[in-house]
Symmetry: C2
Subunit: 395 residues, 2 copies
């Protein structure tokens, strides 16, 4: 018998893979300057530091590090993550922490646990396209909520809650992906209130929080959460290593924690003990804060070079000026099409992600997202010049 | 607002976690002899071998091992798994191999990709309880198919296919969990034929294959698969380390591979590169086959000690005599209750898993599963004596 598309689960049929990953296929060309990804700089990765730590933890822990572990996570890591989060103003018990394969798995477990097909998830507009894809995988009804330069708009969020009775609200509050913008403290407080008032779980995805190059830290939404409606998703991908896939959920409701643990049992049983133990050791040795200081100095200069590069863009181009994170968001004049221009940019040797992919309902083809963390300053300057030339020639 | 159970996805409501893991809570008592788990022996784990390999691969690969990787897997590992599988008679291209977090994730991705709520999955009766839990998570209709001492019965399987039009058939053909029995070559061939004839995906979960202590290797179901209906799930958990969570799917249908990759993107993005690179290096150094020879010698002696221990059990006790794997399956006389006796056994300092948990529809309370890999020979002898005493006192 011939294999037919009909055999796939219905919810998987419309899913065709991440647009970003397809763009990646085009980036193999030598000399390509890519503003398309979300990778940390290779300069921010420390194989020479991690290699001896790996050797040390395997030798020190011995056979148990190679044995089956608890789905709930490697106990010492839960302790060191607790201390790390406390520095960021999140005061939780170790029992509230569930190590995950990056914050990607945290979102997947929330969806697995909460969403029946047709349930509504509210998202920012625009939002991270990987999250949109994950939500679609669970066949949820995605409702985008308007944002402005202060982040998602609480009045619009409340209207959407009343109209759609969502199970879940997905928010990236700090140096948002794709906009780079940060949700204000007043709005964070209000979101925590709305979650409790209407009984909706908030997924606070906060992987960029510690990559701040200017301004003052803003408390997390989770820090305003009194009843446990906010689930905080932390990640070490942007701070230590994305390839190790170590993140964590903070889940204050014991019933929800139990369901996520059960969901994780059948997803992967547990995170590898080795990667958990390496991150634990890295944190306990006090290596993270000095490392963050070092990498933020580099990223700050890269961000400045990118923002400077907008001077040559067509009149009417607008862009965000983020205080941290990895991304700058831009919009060309309304009559221009960043989606259509991508191929020309790639021919010229520079790549970005068209902004339309970050909108749940598409459109906004004049927008685009630029990443600055993965290119050195001189390449950023060169790439921005090339990009400006493409945009100017096609306006 | 108070968090309510109603917020959980309906498909998650009946799921209360693995019975085995709850039993594990009782095993902390000092001196407890546990036949309950499925752990490899700590003696079979090699932290002294893995530690320098970890150090070496991180230093040699450098920053890219800490960077984001491809969902499709670490390319060298796909190559070394291909060579490993070829020795076992599975001749596939690297593009057919998807590294996963143990075979657990392989089954999860098949379910995520294929199953809409209400779709049918056929399973052996009894079967691995972790698989039953995973299938329930996707709200599938589980239909158990009768097995005998040669494994699942092809005539019964064909009847079930005709009656229920399943999307997926889950089989553990070699040293099955929980029975320890091996599906005959004729039946393997027939299952591959039935899959193609009726257009049903077969998940061939084969983690114990290389742990053979007697008899001759039997070709995989996959080796009889001409059209790609059989997905082979391999795992290094029982051979190198369960804590590293490295396994692989062999998926010959490109469309199915693409969907599983998309499903994995939103599950965890990719497996950690470090654990993939360590297993790759271990395989390329030729360490696996001599290691398997060493550990099978130990497990063979442990299995013998366990089988010898049945002599003291109540008359009418039956048990399997597996040629490999980690488990022995036993049934007490029909009027006895292994589920009810578990607490008495634990009081006496010995634990097992009641067989009823491995049956999709429960029942069979006179059966139980014993693991021999995780206890040294003298403890096995002692534990079997204690268990025989409990059974005899309560017959």
């Amino acid at each position: 018998m011939e294999f037919s598309e009909n055999l796939f689960a219905k919810h998987m049929s419309p899913i065709s893979g991440s647009a970003i990953r397809d763009i990646f296929q085009l980036l193999g060309k030598p000399g390509m300057i890519s503003f398309a990804g979300g990778n940390p700089s290779n300069q921010a990765l420390e194989p020479e530091v991690i290699a001896p730590i790996a050797e040390e933890v395997i030798r020190t822990v011995g056979a148990p590090i190679l044995q089956y572990g608890a789905t709930e996570g490697y106990a010492p890591l839960r302790g060191s993550i607790r201390a790390f989060l406390k520095e960021d103003g999140i005061d939780c018990a170790e029992e509230e922490i569930l190590p995950t394969e990056g914050s990607t798995q945290g979102m997947d477990l929330l969806l697995k646990t909460l969403i029946d097909p047709g349930d509504t998830v509210l998202v920012e507009d625009p939002t991270f396209l990987g999250a949109l894809q994950a939500i679609r995988t669970y066949h949820a009804n995605i409702v985008p909520v308007p944002s402005d330069e202060k982040g998602v708009i609480p009045e619009a969020l409340e209207d959407a809650i009343k109209a759609h009775h969502p199970k879940l609200i997905y928010v990236i509050p700090t140096f948002q992906n794709p906009t780079g913008l940060t949700l204000t403290i007043e709005r964070r407080k209000r979101i925590a209130e709305l979650a409790a008032q209407y009984g909706v779980i908030v997924a606070e995805d906060d992987p960029y929080r510690d990559l701040r190059y200017a301004g003052e830290a803003v408390p997390t939404i989770k820090s305003f959460d009194k009843e446990g409606w906010v689930v905080y998703l932390a990640s070490f991908s942007k701070l230590i290593s994305p390839g190790m896939r170590v993140g964590a959920m903070v889940i204050s409701l014991p019933k929800l924690m139990r369901k996520c643990v059960i969901g994780k049992q059948s997803s992967d049983l547990h995170c590898p003990l080795m990667t958990q133990a390496i991150v634990d050791s890295y944190l306990r040795k006090g290596l993270l804060r000095p490392h963050i200081e070092r990498i933020t100095a580099g990223y700050r200069a890269q961000l400045k070079a990118m923002l400077d590069g907008f001077v040559a863009f067509p009149a009417g181009t607008a862009h965000t000026s983020p205080e941290g994170g990895l991304f700058v968001w831009a919009s060309l004049p309304e009559d221009m099409d960043a989606l259509a221009l991508l191929n020309k940019a790639i021919e010229r040797g520079v790549a970005y992600v068209p902004g339309t992919h970050f909108y749940a309902n598409g459109g906004h083809v004049n927008t685009f997202r630029l990443n600055f963390s993965n290119s050195p300053v001189e390449k950023i300057t060169e790439g921005m010049e090339k990009l400006a030339a493409v945009m100017n020639e096609n306006r």
